[in-house]
């Protein structure tokens, strides 16, 4: 892998260097440079340090691995590919993503998966190993969000107001969610066998990546959340 030293480069210089280098590469000493890997496809990028906001925005098939934490808006509007973060991610991760995977070992900030959507063969997946902040899956329109809360199982899996405005897609929370209040337009229920089978298919790669025992991850109760209506705005507008 080619190595790029990010120290002293602003976001433009770093991304120009990244584009000039063909094939896989490692970015060393990253500190806050934004838009890393924006729109890229067909290559692997490893980042050491702290990448800036909008990491992998519009990502189109490339695979990005961050060894530490990532900041806000990871995978903003990503189309395809994979972003793996071994630490925590900031707010608004996967904003409007419509394909690919965001796999996080740690916690997610507020508004993870906001306005996530699926389209034809595009099906985005976000898996968070720790906890998620408030407004998880706000306006979610498609795809799957999974929160595992493996780090502090005694604490709440999600913050306040999850699924606000959710009208598509599916959410799996590894918790009975007794204290969590969901909005009226979604249904939250315990996972059944079919859900667990679906989870098994989604979690396999994640568990391999982070060295987790899949049977253990699946051994806890899961809550499944789906929206009630195919057209939640029906009552709000005049039909035409």
């Amino acid at each position: 892998m080619t190595s790029i030293q990010a120290r002293g480069l602003d976001h433009k210089a770093l991304n120009d260097r990244l584009r000039a280098v063909q094939g896989d590469c490692v970015i060393e000493g990253c500190c806050g440079q934004r838009f890393i890997g924006a729109g890229m496809s067909g290559r692997e990028i490893v980042i050491r340090g702290t990448p800036g906001n909008a990491l992998g925005a519009y990502l189109n098939g490339a695979s990005i691995t961050v060894t530490g934490n990532a900041q806000d808006a990871v995978g903003d509007t990503m189309n395809a590919g994979r972003i793996v973060v071994r630490g925590n991610i900031g707010d608004a991760a996967g904003y409007a993503m419509r394909g690919g995977q965001i796999l996080v070992q740690g916690n997610a900030g507020y508004r993870a998966g906001i306005h996530m959507k699926a389209y034809q063969d595009k099906f985005p997946v976000m898996i968070i190993g720790g906890r998620a902040g408030s407004f998880l899956g706000e306006y979610q329109a498609g795809g799957v969000i999974i929160v595992l809360n493996l780090r502090e199982p005694s604490g709440k899996t999600v913050g306040y107001f999850p699924c606000t405005g959710m009208h598509g897609g599916k959410m799996f929370l590894r918790s009975e969610c007794r204290e969590t209040v969901f909005p009226d337009q979604v249904t939250a229920r315990p996972a059944d066998d079919a859900d667990r089978e679906e989870l098994r298919g989604l979690l396999g790669e994640y568990c391999r990546l982070f060295g987790l025992d899949e049977a253990f991850v699946l051994s806890a109760p899961f809550t499944v959340v789906t929206p009630d209506s195919r057209n939640p705005y029906r009552q709000m507008y005049v039909a035409n």
Binding site: G32, G49, T50, G52, G90, V181
Partner: protein, 366 residues
């Protein structure tokens, strides 16, 4: 001097802070470097810093930092100051001429002591007396503006990028136990020297990233208590709200945070089962101070003598990260800024919306 509000620019900011819990002093170059990785959060229309513990030789005097647009305004303002204060020492604030900072006003500092006779005849406590004098200069004396008025602390601000502002004010020549920094991206006003952050009153300073939608409701309320919002910017009103709640009303910082970033009624209802006392307190504060609920996005750091408080709006519409290493605690809009100050920072976390992070320096160490 063109003031805020004479032009309106429809429109993000960067904040950072470091504090030593042991009261060890750090030079201002540290906070200036923290602003570098966040450069793109500002647009060059404002940068500033507040340092605490920077004037130990004048620690018992109020340090007034002022901008003047002409020499005559300065003379006039000094005459006003002499009516109310003994000016123990006054000087131009040392600056470094650099191409990136232009159009500077005349910048002076005065180390002053309120006149005891005046204090006695007005029957005011010292802080109220100083606050009123500052309000008077800033609202009546066009062409003069007090941008710092605390003891053993000072703010330094200008139109420019924060890194340049730090160089302009020779920030690396000061050392303090706590620093806050701001890079501005003005959203509603054009950006002038007085409008850069931090905003201060006495030893309270606020750096803010966000845009408050409740500005006018908050302003109308706070102006009933003698504060005058002269700048048409939301951070100014936030500074006065915190001064009013903490200094005047005697609330704790955590209570003040529960007023301005109050939990939703639905959240308070949820608390009744598990923590009825908290539910009661939150409901009380919302009921007593409904007009001081601050809505809209904000992340702020409030600096004060001996500590700081970091706070996000209740919906957490702005980012904020906290980390620590040894006796130092770091706060910033981005983790990258913390890593610049301390590459090995530990316990990095993003506080929840409305959750105040209050750090105090060990008693006697500042």
């Amino acid at each position: 001097m063109k003031r805020e509000g004479q032009v309106r620019i429809p429109s993000g900011c960067a904040i950072a802070a470091v504090i030593s819990r042991a009261g060890e002093r750090m030079d201002g170059g540290l906070i200036a470097r923290a602003m570098e990785p966040m450069h793109d959060r500002s647009n060059g229309l404002g940068g500033g810093f507040a340092g605490y513990g920077i004037y130990p030789e004048y620690r018992d005097l109020y340090a007034l930092h002022l901008f003047f647009d002409t020499r005559d305004t300065r003379k006039e303002c000094e005459a006003f100051l002499r009516e109310y204060f003994e000016i123990v020492h006054s000087e131009r604030i040392p600056t470094r001429r650099i191409p990136a900072i232009t159009g500077e006003p005349i910048i002076w500092r005065y180390f002053v002591d309120p006149l005891k006779s005046m204090l006695a005849s007005l029957q005011l406590d010292e802080k109220e007396y100083v606050a009123r004098a500052v309000m008077r200069i800033n609202s009546e004396n066009r062409g003069a503006f007090v941008f710092s008025s605390g003891k053993n602390m000072g703010t330094f601000k200008a139109v420019g990028f924060p890194e340049d502002v730090a160089e302009f004010y020779r920030l690396d020549e000061y050392s303090g136990y706590c620093w806050t920094g701001h890079g501005r991206y003005p959203t509603n006003t054009p950006g002038w020297w007085g409008g850069a952050h931090p905003f201060t009153l006495l030893d309270y300073s606020v750096v803010h990233n966000g845009e408050i939608s409740s500005y006018d409701a908050n302003r109308r309320f706070i102006e009933m208590y003698g504060y005058r919002c002269t700048l048409q910017t939301d951070t100014e009103v936030m500074t006065y709200i915190l001064d009013y709640l903490v200094r005047v009303q005697g609330l704790s910082l955590a209570e003040a945070a529960n007023v301005i970033a109050a939990p939703f009624w639905s959240t308070i209802a949820g608390e009744r089962a598990g923590d009825p006392e908290a539910a009661e307190r939150h409901a009380f504060l919302r009921t007593v101070f409904p007009s001081l609920l601050v809505t809209g996005p904000f992340s702020i750091v409030l600096g004060f003598t001996g500590g700081l408080m970091a706070l996000n709006d209740r919906l957490k519409l702005r980012s904020m990260v906290v980390g620590e290493k040894g006796d130092r605690v770091f706060v910033a809009s981005e983790e990258a800024a913390i890593r610049t100050m301390e590459p090995d920072a530990e316990n990095l976390r993003a506080p929840a919306g409305g959750e105040p992070v209050i750090i105090r320096v060990k008693e006697g160490a500042y």
